[in-house]
Symmetry: C2
Subunit: 270 residues, 2 copies
């Protein structure tokens, strides 16, 4: 593991690191905020959206202020493998920057696009062996495609004590943000059903908080209502807040980041 | 004036606007955060550093959270005129992105590089005519070159109730961040003495707050000690805080932004 940068930030350290991933077969870069702490810190994962790298939320979401206050570490993974030998597409929503948090089975994506395994196994193992982090206290959040990733990886792994999302893609098998990607990465939309928050939310026992803006320019692609309908069959407390006038931008994410970090801190520090 | 974007943010609006500036003879772009408010809002100006545009602090400093809490508007001007017809230099610290908040008198800079007049007259007049802002309640801050701009424009204009800076260039006539630029823009280092915070601080009656990191990679260029020596002859309360382990980055700026906004709010809302 290579240190790219480390900057003191809110009493802790905001680092950027690079490592060779066996899951993706590439070098991967991630950000990690470590609060000033004596023992191992609980961890909040933040999965980013389309076109993002590890850097967007790390610099634009204002999350470190709240994480420092509550003593949480923050992990900012990249959104796909990258590099010259890695398949890509001209569209912004397929290929590099658009991994969709699944393990691709189809050419040309399958050699490197293994983001589910990368997040849940590879990066996870690295983090808990290299840093003072508490594997028993993990939570997850994300934005847009990363909100989809947060909910689905939480449902599939069962390891996160709480789950939240900012304007998540909620029902990708019924959306142009999902159908195209599942066909490309997994060979069919049907194969994507195992990665559709609205279809697997029953597997998720953790408490949830979701914020989506009423002025979100992509709301038809997000299909928040499908997730709400599916959640009515769960018995776990959940909040879905439609935030008046907010859009899909990081100005929206930053506005409600304090609420999300506090929500996770309540469950991680309980 | 043209609206580039407006995003709801912490209950207010983060806008980006473009206007034709008579001072620079170019189109200029700026950011403005307007809090949710009934009457005209007090204004905190944020002047950015070398290589920055209106965008850096607007997206990376986390300032809107605190400004919303205290009911302040935030102005994020660009750091120079820009465009094809505007002089430039290959160095990152001269020309476009490096206006140094002075009015150039020398070729090839003098036609457009009029940043002092742009900030104090041109953009100021536009803001107070187009938006609900209180001209009687203004404060100013900035980072690095923008910290130099904040202190010197405050000393020269007398219009800001409070002044702060993050790792400001404090004594540019004795620094490679200043001597080259004053020679280019003003014809000599001597002409820059009227724009050197350490030499004109006696003209500034407003209270001040300065934060600089002990791990700042540019500390030899900042010459914070020269300003502290000069401030010992002032009778106005001031704080200069050397922050342990922090560097020159926006992770440092974001960490102490809450303190700075609260400091200005105390004077603007008094």
């Amino acid at each position: 593991m290579e240190i790219i940068s480390e900057n003191k930030c809110f009493g802790g350290v905001q680092g950027v690191y690079r490592h060779a991933s066996s899951a993706t077969g590439t070098e991967m870069t991630f950000g990690l905020f470590l609060p000033e702490a004596e023992g191992p810190s609980p961890v909040l994962w933040y999965l980013s959206g389309l076109t993002c790298t590890h850097e967007n939320a790390m610099t634009k979401a204002g999350a470190q202020a709240y994480a420092a206050k509550h003593g949480l570490a923050l992990v900012f993974p990249d959104t796909s493998p990258r590099g010259e030998g890695v398949a890509d597409d001209e569209a912004f929503d397929l290929g590099q920057g658009a991994g969709f948090y699944v393990d691709a089975t189809e050419a040309p994506w399958s050699p490197h696009f293994k983001m589910e395994t990368y997040i849940l196994d590879d990066l996870s193992d690295l983090l808990f062996s290299e840093f003072s982090l508490d594997r028993e206290r993990q939570a997850i959040t994300g934005h847009s495609m990363g909100g989809h990733g947060a909910i689905t990886l939480a449902a599939k792994s069962g390891r996160f004590r709480s789950v939240s999302a900012f304007s998540p893609i909620c029902n990708p098998t019924q959306s142009d943000w999902g159908r195209k990607q599942f066909e490309a990465y997994l060979g069919s939309v049907e194969a994507g059903q195992a990665h559709d928050a609205s279809l697997i939310i029953g597997d998720l026992a953790a408490p949830m908080l979701i914020d989506t803006g009423t002025n979100d320019q992509f709301k038809d692609l997000l299909r928040t209502g499908a997730l709400v309908n599916a959640m009515q069959h769960r018995s776990t407390p959940a909040q879905v807040r439609m935030q008046d006038g907010y859009d899909h931008s990081y100005f929206f994410v930053a506005t409600f980041m304090g609420d999300h970090v506090a929500f996770h801190a309540e469950h991680l520090n309980a």
